[in-house]
Subunit: 697 residues, 2 copies
C-alpha cells in the first residue's frame, strides 16, 4: 500500500482534467456498449496522453492492446475511469488506491441512490479514499471532459459530436446527460467550453471542490453549474468566494423550484433537496447568478461578467431599450417588468443628445429607430448615447430582420459599442445564427428569446459579492433538541435584544392574582412540551379581570389535562392584549444544507397561503434586513398603506438582525426559533413578539 | 362613383390573400426604400396575378412599366397596397373607393397613434370604406402574405428570405415586424405557414374578421395570433367560436402581462390595453389557447390540436413522462409543477404492463429508460403502454442525445406512437434540428425547451370550448353613470338574490332610535355620492346602545360636513356587527373591450397586495363559479383550514352566479358593482354582503 498525499488544487485539476496517463477499467470491445465509448472518444479527439484499456477477458479492445489489470500496466496511471458493473467497482477502486492512482472516476450507479447496500458501498469508497489519498469522482459520473487537452473521458454519447467548440466556460453538473445538451446547444450558438464534469454522487470530490481546483487556470473565464441539490454547500461557497475574488462569474440553473421536482432529485441522485427558496438565498449569498431557464445557462455568462455585483442595491435596475422593431422590444419590456425591472424612459437630456447625434425618434419609453436603425451610424449613435446616459444601468439592443439578412452590418454597432463601461445586451428577434456567432466570438451578450434576455438581466443584477460567513457557522444537522417554554424563550430574547410583549408568569394555583400588566390580558398555558398552545385549548384571549383570569386558568388547566394528560404544567403566562398595524412571522433555523437562515414572512394564515416570505443566510446586517422587509409583499401595509400610519420598520429590521445573530452566538445553540406573530406597531412604537417557539440543539 | 357591395368571407379572403390583380401605389424604384420591396417580393416569389406599380413621377419602376395612377390602369385591381407617405394616403384610398378596388392595404403610420390629426384621418378612411364598400387593412400594416398563392404583398424585409416553408398555419399579428421573426424561426424549425397578416390599426378590417374570412379554407389547419390589445374583441370571439366549430385550434401570445408593456402597446399601436387578467379571461372564454413564451407560438399548435377542449375540468391534468435522460425529464417536471400540473406516477398495473412489454424501469415518478430507451422497441413499448394507461391525460417523451445523432431512429417510436388517442408531446434535450424536421413533417408536437413544453401543455389543457355569449351582451363603453346609495344597492341585491347583512335606514335627525337589529351595530353615512365612506369619517364600528348610535350619527354628520361640505346626507345606514370565517371581494363590471366580467378576489387589504383574484366573463354558471373559488388562493381558509369550520362555498358560488346575471338583466344596466367585503360564514350559514358600491349606466 502506497498512500497518495493529498493533492493540491492544481495537481487535482491536472490529474482530473489533463492527466498524462489514464486507464479505462472495464473497457468494452463492443461498440454498442457504453463501456466502449471512452476509448473511442479519446482516440477520436486526439488526446496525447497514454491510454490503457483494461479488460481481463480480452487481449484486444477496439483494435488495440488491452491490459488484464491495473497492476499489469507499465506505469501507475494518473487517472482511472471505472466503467465496470456496480459489483466490481469497489475492487477496482481498491486497486487504484493501493497502486497510487491519483483520481478514479466511477460510472456505475447503485451507490448513494442504492438503498442500504448502496450506502455501505459509499462508505467503502470513502474509506479507500481516506486511507490512500485516492480522489474519487462519482459514482454515477458519466465522466469528465477537458476540451483543451482533448481529454474526453466520458461515456456520454453526445461527445461523439465532431468539432466541439472550445471556449472559456467550465461546466459542472449534477446531471451527466445534460452536459451533452449544453454542448450541442452551445455549438449551435457558437458557445464553446473549456471542460465539463459530471459530478455524480459526490462521495469524495464535490462539485465545489472540483471547480475550485480549476480556479487558477487562466483560460477559464467563467462557470456554469447545473444543480439538483445544495449538497456540499460549504465547498460550493468556498469555490464561489474564490471565483468572485478572481472576477470569474458563476451562473447556475437549479432544479427543484417545485416540490415535485425536488422529490425527483431525491430519487434520482440520492440527494436531499431542501426548500427552493433556501437554496435561492444560499446561491445569492454566494454571489452565484441563478437563472430560471435552462437555455439562459448558455447565454448569461457574458452579461453576468459585465454587471458588477452590488452595482445596485435598494432599487430596481433601470434598463434602456433601443430597437429596430417595436414588437420585439415590447416583449423584452414585458418580461423585464414581470421580474420587477423597469424599462426607463430616457431623460430630456438624453433625448436632446440623441437628436444632436442625428437620431430621429419619438419620446417613448423605448427608442424605436424602425428601419433607420439598420443604418450603422444611426444604431451606433443611439447605443453610444444611451450607454452614456446616467439614467440607465444597462442598455438592450433589440435587432430585427437585419440580424438575419445582414448579420455583420446589423451586429457591428452593437459590437463596437459594447466596450463602453455600461453593460449592453442584445436580443435578436429573428432566427440569426450567424449574428450569434459574431457576438459569441467577441463575447458580447446575445439572447435568442425575450424570456432568456430578461432572465439573464435579472440574474445579473441580483448578483452580490459573496459574503464570507463569520466563524462558528457552517452546516449543522438540526435534529432533535430541547424546546424552551415561552417564558424561557422571552428570557433568551431579552438577552439578544428582541422585544416581546410584557409578560408575567403565574402558578396555576396562585391564590392572589396581582398582575404587573393592564387588563384585558391573554392567558396561555406555559410548558416547554407544548408548542401549539391553541390546539390543546391552552389560550384564552381578552380576559378582563382578576376573577376572569382565575376562571381562565381553571379552564385551560382542565383542557390541557384532558388533551395532554402526560403533561403537568405548573404555570400560565399572562400578557396584555396587544395590537399593531399588522403582524409578521420572524424565524431562524439551521438548515441542514446551507446552515443558519433567518426568515421573514407574512403572519397568520397568510404565511402558508401566499408563501410571502424572504430568506437570507444568517447573520444579516441592517441593510439586508431592510431588503428582506421590502421583498415581503405584505410590508406594504407598513408603509402608510391606505391612509394608515407607517409601521416601525427600523425596529422590525433591528429585530431581524437580533434574531439572526443567533448564528454567531457563543452562548445559545438555537436550531430553530419562530416568532409568530411579531406585532409591528406605528413608527417609534417598535415591534413586539407575542409568541415564541425556540428549540436548542 | 361605383360602390362595392359588401364582400362575403370567401370573397374577402380571395381579394385580400390571393387577388387576381394588385396595384402598388407609390412603388419606389430605389432598392434601398421600403416602398420598393413589395414589387421585388412579388416578382421574386412568382406570384401569378397581375401587378401594377404606380408612380406618378416615373415611367419605369425596377425595370418594369409604371402607371401614373390607379385610374390609368387597364383594369380595376382587386387589391391595392398604398405605400405612399401618410399625407397621400387619403387621396389614394379615396381613388380606390371610387374605382371599385376591393381591398386597400395601408403601410403608412400616423393614424390611430397620430393624435387628433391621426384620428381625423382614421374617420376619413372609415367614411370612404362605408361609402364605397372598400375594405381597408391597416393603416400601419406592413402587408399581407399568402404563401400558397405566392402573394407576398409586404414591405417586411424578412420576406426576402428564400425558400419560405409553406404550411397549414395562418398568422395574424398586431405587430408587423414579428411576422418576420415567426417566419425565420419557423423555417429553422421546419414549421411553415399558409399566410401572415399584419393587421395594423384595424380601422376597418379587424384581426378577427380577417381570420374569419379564411375559415373555409381547407388547407388552413390552425391559427397563431400575436396580440397587443383586446381591440375588436367581438370579432375575435366570433372568429374563435367558428374556428372551434371547425376544429381549427387557435393559439395566442399576448403582450402586456406587465403594466409597463401594456402602456407601451398603447403608445405603439394606439390601442387601449386593458388589465391583463381580463384579457386572459376573455381569451379563455373564447377557447383560444394563450401561451406565455414567444417561441411557444411556433410549437404549440400541434399539441393544442390534439387535446380536446373541456377534456379536463375540476382537476389538474395528469402527465406521464418517459425519458432517456433523467435530468432532461426533471426540468419538464419542474416547469409543469410550477404551472400546477402534476407528473403522475404510473399505477401498479401500468408498471406491470411495462414489465410485460419487456421494459425494465424503476418504480419512480418518471419512467427513466436511460440508454435502453434509445432502442426502438423499448421506447415504443413504453410509450404505447403509457398512452394506454388510464391514469394519464398526456404523455411526454423526453429524448436525449440520440435525437441529435440518430434523429430518425430516436424519433421513430414517438412518431409511430403519436397516433394513439391520447396526446403525446416530445421534448428534445439536445440541439436536434433534423429530429424537429421529422416531427414537423408529420405534425407531432415537439419542443425545444422544458419551459416551452410545459407552457404549451398548460395552454392546451386550459383550453375550453368557446362559449356563445347570451344575447344582450357585448362591448359597452362603461363611463360615467349614476351611483346607487348603499341602501338602494341592497334593494337591487334583494332582487337578484344576493344576500346582504340586515340593514336599517335612519334619518340623521331621528328622535327615536328603535332598531330592528341586535347591538352592537355599525353606523355608516348613506349617500350615493360617497363611495369611500371611511375616508370621510363616515363609518363607526361596534356601537353598543341607543345613545351611542345617536352620538355616532352626530360624529359622522360632523365629519362628513367638514370633509364633503357640498353633500347633504339625510340618512345613515345601520347594520349589526357581523363576522364570519373570512371575507372576499365580489365584483362585476362592463369592461370596455371584452364586456361584462365577474371578479372574485381576496378581501380587505389583500386584494391589492397579493392580487389574488379570479375573473370570468359574465354570466357564469355554478360550475364556473366553483372554479373561480378554487382558483383563489385565499379560498383555502374556507376549506377546513387549520381546524376551522369549512365555509359556505355553495352560497359563495351562488352569490357569484347571481351577481354575474347582471350581464343579461333586462331591468338593471349596471356598469360596475363591488361588494367588499362579502363575509363567508360556516357551511349552511351563507354569505353576506357588508358593503356595496353599485353604478348604473
Amino acid at each position: 500500500m502506497l498512500p497518495n498525499k493529498a493533492q493540491s488544487g492544481g495537481e487535482l485539476a491536472q490529474t482530473l482534467l489533463a492527466p498524462k496517463s489514464v486507464a479505462i477499467v472495464g473497457a468494452s470491445d463492443d461498440l454498442s456498449k457504453t463501456a466502449a465509448r471512452p476509448l473511442q472518444f479519446l482516440r477520436r479527439s486526439g488526446y496525447e496522453g497514454r491510454v490503457y484499456p483494461i479488460n481481463q477477458n480480452r487481449e484486444m479492445v477496439l483494435g488495440e492492446k488491452a491490459w488484464p489489470s491495473l497492476a499489469s500496466l507499465p506505469e501507475v496511471p494518473d487517472h482511472a475511469f471505472i466503467v465496470t458493473p456496480t459489483d466490481h467497482v469497489i475492487e477496482a477502486v481498491g486497486e487504484c488506491g493501493r497502486l497510487g492512482v491519483r483520481v478514479a472516476t466511477i460510472l456505475a450507479t447503485g451507490f448513494s441512490e442504492g438503498g442500504a447496500e448502496g450506502h455501505r458501498r459509499v462508505e467503502q469508497l470513502q474509506d479507500i479514499s481516506s486511507a490512500t489519498g485516492l480522489r474519487i469522482l462519482g459514482p454515477s459520473s458519466i465522466g469528465v471532459v477537458d476540451l483543451r487537452s482533448k481529454f474526453l473521458l466520458t461515456a456520454n454519447a453526445a461527445f461523439a459530436e465532431p468539432d466541439l467548440p472550445v471556449g472559456g466556460t467550465f461546466v459542472a453538473s449534477h446531471s451527466g446527460s445534460l452536459l451533452g445538451a449544453l454542448m450541442s446547444r452551445g455549438k449551435a450558438r457558437s458557445v464553446g467550453f473549456a471542460g465539463l464534469v459530471s459530478v455524480g454522487n459526490e462521495v469524495d470530490l464535490s462539485l465545489g471542490e472540483i471547480c475550485s481546483a480549476t480556479l487558477n487556470d487562466p483560460t477559464i473565464s467563467g462557470y456554469v453549474l447545473f444543480l439538483e441539490s445544495m449538497r456540499h454547500a460549504k465547498d460550493l461557497r468556498a469555490f464561489a468566494i474564490e471565483a468572485a475574488r478572481r472576477n470569474k462569474p458563476v451562473v447556475a440553473y437549479k432544479l427543484g423550484r417545485s416540490a415535485q421536482a425536488a422529490e425527483l432529485a431525491l430519487s434520482h441522485t440520492g440527494a436531499l433537496a431542501g426548500e427552493d427558496d433556501v437554496a435561492e438565498a444560499f446561491l445569492a449569498d454566494c454571489g452565484i447568478a441563478r437563472v430560471e431557464h435552462f437555455e439562459t445557462l448558455l447565454e448569461a455568462l457574458p452579461l453576468v461578467g459585465r454587471v458588477s455585483p452590488n452595482a445596485i442595491r435598494g432599487r430596481a435596475p433601470r434598463v434602456g431599450i433601443v430597437t429596430t422593431t417595436g414588437g420585439g422590444a415590447a416583449m423584452v419590456v414585458d418580461e423585464l417588468a414581470l421580474r420587477g425591472i423597469e424599462v426607463t424612459k430616457a431623460s430630456d437630456q438624453t433625448f436632446a443628445n440623441l437628436a444632436k447625434a442625428g437620431v430621429k425618434t419619438g419620446h417613448e419609453r423605448i427608442i424605436d429607430l424602425t428601419m433607420e436603425g439598420t443604418r450603422y451610424e444611426v444604431m451606433k449613435a443611439s447605443l453610444d448615447t444611451m450607454l452614456n446616459a446616467p439614467e440607465f444601468d444597462l442598455v438592450v439592443a433589440v435587432i430585427g430582420s437585419s440580424a438575419r439578412f445582414q448579420p455583420d452590418l446589423a451586429i457591428k454597432p452593437v459590437i463596437d459599442s459594447a466596450g463602453a463601461g455600461k453593460p449592453l445586451a442584445t436580443f435578436l428577434v429573428p432566427d440569426a445564427p450567424q449574428a450569434f456567432a459574431r457576438l459569441a466570438e467577441v463575447g458580447v451578450p446575445g439572447f435568442r428569446t425575450p424570456e432568456g434576455c430578461a432572465d439573464a438581466i435579472s440574474a445579473a443584477f441580483r448578483r452580490r459579492t459573496p459574503r464570507v460567513p463569520p466563524a462558528g457557522r457552517g452546516c449543522i444537522t438540526a435534529t432533535g433538541g430541547r424546546q424552551l417554554s415561552e417564558w424561557d424563550a422571552y428570557k433568551l430574547f431579552e438577552e439578544i435584544g428582541l422585544p416581546h410583549a410584557p409578560a408575567a408568569r403565574l402558578p396555576i394555583d396562585a391564590e392572589k392574582i396581582e398582575l404587573p400588566l393592564p387588563y384585558p390580558v391573554v392567558v396561555k398555558i406555559l410548558h416547554e412540551a407544548i408548542a401549539h398552545k391553541t390546539e390543546v385549548g391552552g389560550v384564552i384571549l381578552n380576559v378582563g379581570s382578576e376573577d376572569a383570569v382565575r376562571a381562565a386558568i381553571s379552564r385551560i388547566v382542565d383542557s390541557v389535562r384532558q388533551k395532554r394528560p402526560e403533561i403537568s404544567a405548573q404555570h400560565v403566562l399572562i400578557q396584555s392584549m396587544t395590537t399593531g398595524l399588522g403582524e409578521v412571522l420572524l424565524g431562524y433555523r439551521k438548515d441542514p444544507d446551507v446552515g443558519p437562515i433567518v426568515l421573514l414572512a407574512s403572519g397568520g394564515v397568510f404565511t402558508e397561503i401566499y408563501r410571502d416570505r424572504s430568506i437570507r443566510l444568517a447573520p444579516v446586517d441592517l441593510q439586508v434586513a431592510k431588503e428582506m422587509i421590502s421583498e415581503l409583499a405584505v410590508s406594504r401595509i407598513f408603509t402608510g398603506y391606505r391612509g394608515k400610519k407607517p409601521g416601525d420598520l427600523d425596529a422590525l429590521a433591528q429585530a431581524i438582525v437580533s434574531l439572526s445573530q443567533l448564528a454567531v452566538s457563543d452562548k445559545w445553540d438555537v436550531v430553530d426559533a419562530e416568532i409568530n406573530p411579531l406585532i409591528v406597531r406605528p413608527a417609534g412604537a417598535g415591534v413586539l413578539a407575542l409568541d415564541a417557539v425556540v428549540k436548542l440543539a
